[in-house]
């Protein structure tokens, strides 16, 4: 049981290049999330998915696209990278996102460090 894995761990891009970050989870979780972490900003939600084939915007979605073609995978795409997208990207998953009687926790991947020059 690997939990949440992210590929790649580190990447350097030039401005204008594109790339895709892959997140995979083997816990059969319905919900998946992409966050970015910047100094002094905490974690901010980029996009999330409540199930296979669905995606929704978070706090900071501009410049990113996502896809959830399979339940276990959540892809984050940068079509034209900008220096402002230099950050550490975390993927997370959870059973579902509704507050309720169950313990609502997100399981995070180890992060992808992206540098855009």
């Amino acid at each position: 049981n690997a939990g949440v894995t992210q590929t790649p761990k580190f990447r350097v891009l030039k401005t204008g290049q594109s790339m895709t970050l892959l997140c995979a989870q083997d816990m059969n979780h319905e919900y998946m999330y992409w966050y970015r972490q910047d100094p002094g900003m905490g974690l901010r939600l980029i996009h999330y998915s409540v199930g296979e084939g669905t995606t929704a915007k978070g706090e900071v979605p501009d410049g990113y696209n996502v896809s959830r073609l399979k339940k276990q995978n959540f892809l984050l795409g940068l079509e034209s990278a900008a220096p402002s997208q230099t950050s550490v990207y975390f993927c997370a998953s959870s059973y579902d996102g509704t507050s309720g009687s169950w313990v609502e926790t997100q399981y995070f991947g180890p992060g992808t460090r992206l540098l855009v020059l």
């Binding site: 974690l43 901010r44 996102g97 507050s99 995070f108």
Partner: protein
Amino acid sequence: DQQVKQNSPSLSVQEGRISILNCDYTNSMFDYFLWYKKYPAEGPTFLISISSIKDKNEDGRFTVFLNKSAKHLSLHIVPSQPGDSAVYFCAASPVTGNQFYFGTGTSLTVIP
């Protein structure tokens, strides 16, 4: 605008003493609160949570207190251990939302 705030970027505590980490929020619709712990080069890991119907939740050395009227929660670690040295994030989720809102984190250093 930051809806969840951790106003202390860092905290140093002697081993064996109590660590108190604070978190404030502005959105009255938040009803579930969590604390995460993060070591360098790793993703955050869940530590403890509390629902808005409670004012206290304990798990071993960790206790979270919630003061809804003040929109304030705190994490107490007693006794603090060097292995507790990490960045701690508080997070909140609204009643009907699918989103978690995170604070900026507090870096805790426990001095042996």
